[in-house]
Amino acid sequence: MKRTWQVACILFLAGAVVMLISSFEYPYKDRLGPGPGFFPFWLSLIVVGLSIALLFQITRGQKAPYGSESPYPNRQGAGRILIVLVALVGSLAMLDYLGFRISLLLFLLFLPIALGIRQWWVVSLFALAGSFGIFHVFYHWLKVPLPMGFFGL
């Protein structure tokens, strides 16, 4: 866990440094008072300071602020997480092109099967209801806009 906390601190530090440098692109002050660069400048400066302080506390401190448990999932868990992420990124990539119904149909067909369900007809029904059915409810009844894709689906 110690290493993970250290990495998190370094990432925060890096992000804050980037913001600090970028804040110089905006005026710190204008004729009315503090400009758009004022708040981000001080904010990122404080984050830089705190990241260094936490990094120091983790590395040198006697009392660890983190737990002893491992932050990593087991192999099976990592596999399932990867499956969910692949499905999410896949549907994200398809959404604008194939529209809500087709993208989500594929998403809802893929996920249960990839997670171990073998009842094809139940999965198909679930996917149809979750894509075409939910689309109907949200788009037509609740008037919530959803992507149609190139084929108008």
Binding site: P34, L43, S51, I81, P112, I117, G130
Partner: protein, 495 residues
């Protein structure tokens, strides 16, 4: 007299058939969110915002608030039957609730939780009616320095009370503020930190971030061990035994007061009141050794405190515009989406919304009691849903929720990105609540600070020379510095 007229106005709004329907739907959906593992109240409320797009603002807010307090009821069911809290505030209920279920007494555990929640929620709503108007009238005197100081106090409380390390929690708060810097400058209207991406001109979407951190992140975490072992128990007898009523009623009374008063403190979160109520109950009990073995007061006190807190926490949101938890931040986001700004001016400008909402909370609590006692068996059945269907189903609604606000696939991507971040932060145990609150309060905070400095021609001492602002900043400093002071005192003691 004025307050009484507002109450009447509130009830006339809340009892309109359409608003009763919205409250009813909200209660059902909220309980469902509370019951379903992997979907906390913050993400659940955010997901359901799109269904309110075409409702009038009062109906939308009534429904979303009902989802919020309904989720507090629902979380108990999983705590008792699966030993997994449906939402974080129900963690402590697992201790005695699950033990009672193992002894075949899940019915009375769920029954007393529903009754306690009803009493706590109803009392807190009454107190909300009494307290919120004077507080809002007082807050109307606040200028930009006081608003800035108040926001600093709100964020300090969230920061100081969450997580293992105050420094880590502070970084998470500042991370939320950094995210809030993206988009249009709230004072001059100039774009900042947009990386040239047009969707970022409106800023980092609050709803995709909430759904990512609390929805997708939670599901990714659940995927590590997704199978739930539901206790098979008969839920025929829902009421406790006669002798249990006596101890339970004391626990409900104490839980009500603890929940409401802690709800008034912005940022305290729902977990602390439930833990405190449990600890107090254990202290006053004649047989503290029995806590954790399945006793009724171990369920009654935290569950009552939970719902009393949920309603009490509406006081700072409605009167001061400060959300005390991520779910209330979502509710505040929903107010803004519907063109309303929570805070003292809302009482002046839209009393129909404020008092209609408060009155609907009374009715919602009655609905939840009626719904929960006979429907406990039905909710328990839902827990037997296979995770291979449950989690894809939740993700489907997350995608709809993230997309529909701006009709933007970019927002769906943002949700996935924050889902991964939410998972990582959960694993390293860095608190997420401060980020969400800072993201929503960030633009207000920056505006208040910059306007204060404009008022004083750049003199920062304006924040400490005005009495209210100075007192508030001292409170914030005490909250943030107390862990460091304690640590130094311990060190000095050792030396």
């Amino acid at each position: 007299m004025e307050a009484f007229q507002y109450w009447i106005q509130g009830f006339s709004v809340a009892t309109l058939p359409i608003n009763l329907l919205y409250a009813f739907i909200g209660c059902i959906l909220g309980t469902l969110i509370g019951v379903l593992p992997g979907l906390g109240p913050a993400a659940g409320t955010a997901i359901l915002i799109p269904i309110t797009f075409n409702l009038d603002p009062i109906g939308a807010i009534i429904m979303l608030a009902a989802i919020y307090y309904g989720a507090m009821y629902g979380g108990t069911i999983t705590s008792v039957l699966v030993n997994v809290p449906g939402e974080a505030a129900s963690v402590i209920t697992c201790l005695d609730g699950y033990q009672m279920a193992k002894q075949g007494r899940a019915g009375p555990a769920l029954g007393i939780a529903a009754i306690g929640s009803f009493i706590g929620g109803t009392f807190a709503t009454f107190a909300l009616m009494v307290v919120s108007l004077p507080l809002a009238s007082f807050a109307l005197r606040f200028g930009p320095p006081e608003v800035f100081a108040l926001l600093v106090v709100g964020l300090s409380l969230v920061t100081g009370l969450s997580g293992r390390s105050v420094l880590a929690a502070l970084l998470m708060t500042l991370f939320g503020l950094m995210l809030a810097m993206v988009g249009m400058d709230p004072v001059r209207g100039a774009p900042r930190f947009t990386l040239g991406l047009p969707p970022l001109y409106d800023g980092v979407g609050f709803i995709p971030v909430v759904m990512g951190l609390f929805g997708v992140g939670e599901i990714l975490l659940s995927m590590e061990a997704p199978v739930l072992n539901v206790i098979k128990t008969k839920l025929t007898d829902l009421l406790p035994k006669r002798k249990e009523w006596k101890v339970a009623s004391g626990a409900i009374g104490r839980g009500t007061f603890i929940g409401f008063f802690l709800g008034l403190i912005p940022g305290i979160g729902a977990i602390i009141p439930t833990f405190l109520a449990y600890v107090v109950e254990k202290k006053v009990s004649k047989h503290p050794e029995k806590f954790g073995t399945g006793i009724i007061e171990g369920v009654a006190s935290p569950e009552t405190a939970n719902n009393s807190y949920a309603n009490g926490a509406m006081v700072p949101l409605l009167s001061l515009g400060i959300p005390g938890s991520p779910t209330l931040a979502v509710l505040m986001g929903a107010f803004i989406i519907h063109g309303l700004t929570p805070g003292p001016f809302l009482f002046k400008e839209r009393p129909d919304v404020v008092w209609g909402l408060i009155a609907s909370m009374y009715l919602g609590n009655v609905m939840l009691l009626i719904l929960n006692l006979p429907l406990v068996g039905f909710w328990a059945k839902l827990l037997e849903l296979r995770h291979q269907y449950l989690y894809p189903g939740i993700l489907l609604f997350c995608i709809i929720g993230a997309y529909s606000l701006n009709q933007s696939v970019f927002d769906v991507g943002l949700m996935v990105l924050f889902g991964v971040l939410g998972y990582i932060f959960r694993k390293v145990d860095w608190p997420l609540a401060p980020t969400i609150l800072a993201l929503i309060l960030g633009p207000m905070m920056e505006r208040a600070l910059r306007t204060s400095l404009e008022m004083s021609a750049g003199d920062i001492t304006i924040l400490v020379t005005r009495p209210i602002s100075a007192i508030l900043l001292i409170i914030a400093a005490v909250v943030l510095l107390s862990p460091a002071v304690r640590l130094l005192a311990q060190k000095a003691g050792k030396d």
